[in-house]
Amino acid sequence: MLVVAEPEQLPVEQAKAGEPEAWSVLFRRYQMPLYVYVFELARDEQTSLDIVQETFIAAVRHIGSLRDEAKFGGWLFGIAHQKCSQLWRKQNREAAWRGEIAETPPDLDDSPDELLIRREQEAEFMKSINQLPPPQRSVLLLHFVEDFSLEQIAEITETPLGTVKSRLHYAKRALRKLLEEK
């Protein structure tokens, strides 16, 4: 039987109208994925909590600029991503952040659901993610955590689509290699 996931019904319109309850629902939905994404980039609990809070406040302040309500998730992750980039810039690791391996988009033969992790592999999986360069890690996390499309990831990270494709490809390949080695 073919199961088609229904689009999530989120009270974005009510949030735009300034209803606190609607904001509470939206924040509850995204707080953990957002925290995971930020933490895996910042690697510091307090910094990550600060960034999540700043993201929420910025979302409330700038919700008027969101045109397509269906894109709320991507828009929220975009704010968080900008804040992570600012953090990296502050830490003077811009070069590492911008570091590229290849710009040629390879053919994506692997789907996101392909990778399944056994219980004994979980710790190694977390370690392996941390070993990836930040640009690849960022793309991979957005792909894993929220299953964003390549186009959405390109929008969130403000990166060309081809670059996102190649980053995701190399990140997955590197992750597999790291997991196989261990």
């Binding site: 300034g18 606190p20 904001w23 509470s24 924040f27 509850r28 707080q31 953990m32 994925p33 925290y35 995971v36 933490f39 895996e40 609990e45 990550s48 909590l49 999540v52 809070q53 929420f56 406040i57 409330v60 996101p112 659901d113 990778l115 399944l116 992790i117 056994r118 219980r119 979980e122 999986f125 977390m126 996390l141 894993f144 955590v145 299953d147």
Partner: protein, 127 residues
């Protein structure tokens, strides 16, 4: 077997209470109406006392500057002393002439009117 999403979320489950508190704080900030102190008219007027003082001073200066001088200070010109247009024109021409004189503009050369042909012929004959 777990998906990467499940593994990632499980790894950070410990942060959930902190995130709940954080969310509650942000939402509480939304629910709270902006604090506005009740200000009485008296307090409001008192807060503007320096503005009123400055405005008063400015108006006083403006009033002093616009005050009429003592009558008779400006002498009225008698009707018979007002120059006629002809006099004004003559005066202007005189001014222009003086100006040209002082600015060393070469005077207009006299127009040479040729003499009569009969006279010219006599002059040549004499030479």
């Amino acid at each position: 077997m777990k998906t990467p999403r499940e593994v990632l979320l499980k790894q950070h489950q410990a942060a959930a209470p902190k995130l709940d508190a954080l969310r509650a704080g942000v939402v509480a900030g939304l629910a709270r109406p902006p604090a506005r102190e009740a200000v009485s008219w008296r307090d409001f007027a008192r807060s503007l006392r320096w503005h009123f003082a400055a405005l008063s001073a400015a108006w006083m200066v403006v009033a002093m500057l616009n005050m009429d001088p003592a009558p008779g200070a400006v002498a009225a010109i008698p009707r018979d002393k007002i120059p006629t247009p002809q006099q004004l024109w003559a005066s202007l021409r005189e001014s222009r002439r003086l100006l040209l004189e002082y600015s060393d503009v070469p005077a207009v050369e006299p127009v040479v009117v040729p003499g009569r042909r009969s006279e010219m012929a006599v002059e040549q004959a004499v030479v």
